[in-house]
Amino acid sequence: MPLKIAVLAKQVLDPEMPMAAFRIDEDAKRVVPPSNIPPVVNGFDENAVEAALQIKDAQEATVTVISTGSSFALDVMKKPLSMGADELVLLQDDDFDNTIDSFQTAQLLAAAIRKLEGFDLIICGRQASDWDNAQVPLGVAEILGVSCVSLGKKVDVADGKAIVERIVPDGYQVVEASLPALVTVSNELGQPRYPTLRGIMAATRKRPTVWSKADLDLDDSQSEARVTLRQLFIPVSDQECEFVEGENAADAGRQLALKLREAKII
């Protein structure tokens, strides 16, 4: 049996977009997506796709990418397919608006995983660059009751176990987790691979499976909101920068040292 791997991926606003384009509708408590900047697959989720594909390079495995949202840019969400993933499942419904409530998002993804009859390994990015909640993957692990390892920088599967190098503040640990397992990965995993021409062609031909709310067996007792968003605003900095100048750059460096001494900072 090939190893069955799922990757949970989210479509997000491009975090590299110019700050000037970042706007908030404070009344609606929403970020207004700029019309001329396309969304992207969340960066850490691309690391998750890479982690899955590295396993698939080494052993027989299938990689299914699952995402949830109210609307998708299909060409964007097909990127993991063009990198080498096998299938794309989109949970799409007007109600799936990926709000700040990670609890609801995790319920949807867990329901989809159950409908797909479970996976040996679920790999996720450590957090999404929009709400930075870092909750959904761990929540999915809790709902499904599978082993959970966070902040991986290398993921392998051998002898029915996931072997993960997980980042800790002063280095890393090698840990083993029984399967089925969920692993979150971080940017330390390394650059995700670029799609190949062959991959792009194959992705063009693939059609995603699209499920709406009605297709998922959701637990109605869990549908109540867990978190309320009360306010959303852009913080203002009142910091004034004093530019230290000199006759040339070297002199500016010396002047900076004097300035710091004068201010009793050094």
């Binding site: 930075d132 809790e142 840990v175 968003l229 959303l232 852009i234 750059a249 040292a257 900072i265 050094i266």
Partner: protein
């Protein structure tokens, strides 16, 4: 079941000492408990927690739950969660505060899901709406470009607080508090993740999180070699060297150097950034720095918006001159 009441801090500690993050949580919890007019308690997990329990009381706890088991002597997420879950069900607190440390990053969301409640993640500040006894949490979102104010709907209302967002209160050893023994019956088979090996790869010298001075380098350095120059400057100032994510992703320094949203949170007195553009994700890790100095050749770089002092210039020229001048000043 009685109504939920009180603020419960889940604190990290060793057998001998309370962790600084637990003391920070007690400061945050003290405010919340006062606004609610309710008790502040702390849960300490371990095989023996007598010494940190007394420190927790001196830091403001009214009550300490000594959550003990031989299986809690070292951190293991599954076992810690099982213990926290049974304590929360028994104590039924209104508010739970956890530090978003490396351990808190995994414990807080999993505990919230296990209890079926919401979590306000990575908060900079929490306050209480006294009329509704609701915890209001300010948390950075979109990489720190925006702030969301969120609240949890059910109890316990759980918030994970960013380390160093709060300052610990002064120790008051005359404070009195109660230590409640809460032994937990755990089974080793509950641990589904096992540590096989631990590899340390920290920079030598002062720890980044504890340094009074930090010198960080970014993408603009162009390679690993210039970090040696930053090491020199940091050494003279008794500080540590950090890096932006771009420098870590390029493989110039190990991940343990990373300052930022997904790296370390630092609060030095002086933070010197070299060739760092100042993306909000980086600034999220150093917003508590008392004085930020920016050296960047791009006068329009974002970093200057957050800096107290700035030099617009090439680091290759500025840093050696700065280092030499600092050396002379420190020697004199």
């Amino acid at each position: 079941m009685a109504d939920a009441t009180g603020v419960l801090v889940i604190g990290q500690s060793s057998a001998d000492a309370l962790d600084s993050t637990a003391a920070e949580l007690l400061a945050a919890g003290r405010n919340a408990a006062a606004s609610l007019g309710e008790e502040l308690s702390i849960a300490l997990l371990g095989d023996a927690v007598d010494a940190p329990a007394q420190q927790a009381i001196a830091h403001g706890a009214d009550r300490v739950y000594a959550v003990t088991s031989p299986l809690l002597s070292g951190y293991q997420a599954d076992l810690y969660l099982a213990a926290m879950d049974s304590l929360c069900r028994e104590v039924n607190p209104r508010v739970v505060l956890i530090s978003r440390t490396n351990e808190g990053r995994e414990l807080a969301p999993r505990l919230a899901f296990r209890l079926g409640v919401g979590l306000a993640q990575d908060c900079l500040e929490v306050s209480v709406d006294e009329a509704t006894k609701t915890l209001l949490a300010n948390r950075p979102v979109y990489g720190g470009n925006a702030i969301a104010v969120v609240s949890c709907v059910q109890t316990p209302q759980i918030a994970a607080i960013r380390p160093k967002a709060y300052e610990a209160a002064e120790l008051d050893s005359s404070r009195q508090g109660q230590v409640v023994s809460f032994p937990v019956d755990l089974d080793a088979s509950q641990a589904r993740v096992r540590v096989v090996e631990t590899v340390r790869e920290e920079s030598e010298g002062v720890k980044l999180e504890e340094a009074r001075v930090v010198v960080s380098g970014g993408r603009g350095l162009g390679g690993p070699e210039p970090f040696a120059g930053l090491e020199d400057l940091a050494k003279i100032l008794g500080g540590a060297v950090g890096a932006s994510r771009a420098a870590v992703d390029s493989g110039w320094v190990p991940p343990s150097y990373q300052v930022g949203l997904t790296g370390k949170s630092i609060t030095p007195d002086l933070y010197i950034t070299v060739a760092i553009s100042g993306a909000s994700q980086h600034m999220a890790g150093c917003s508590g720095a008392k004085c930020i100095v920016a050296i960047n050749k791009d006068a329009d770089a974002n970093i200057f918006k957050d800096a107290r002092y700035g030099v617009v210039g090439d680091w290759e020229t500025v840093i050696p001159a700065l280092t030499e001048a600092v050396r002379e000043l420190m020697d004199s």
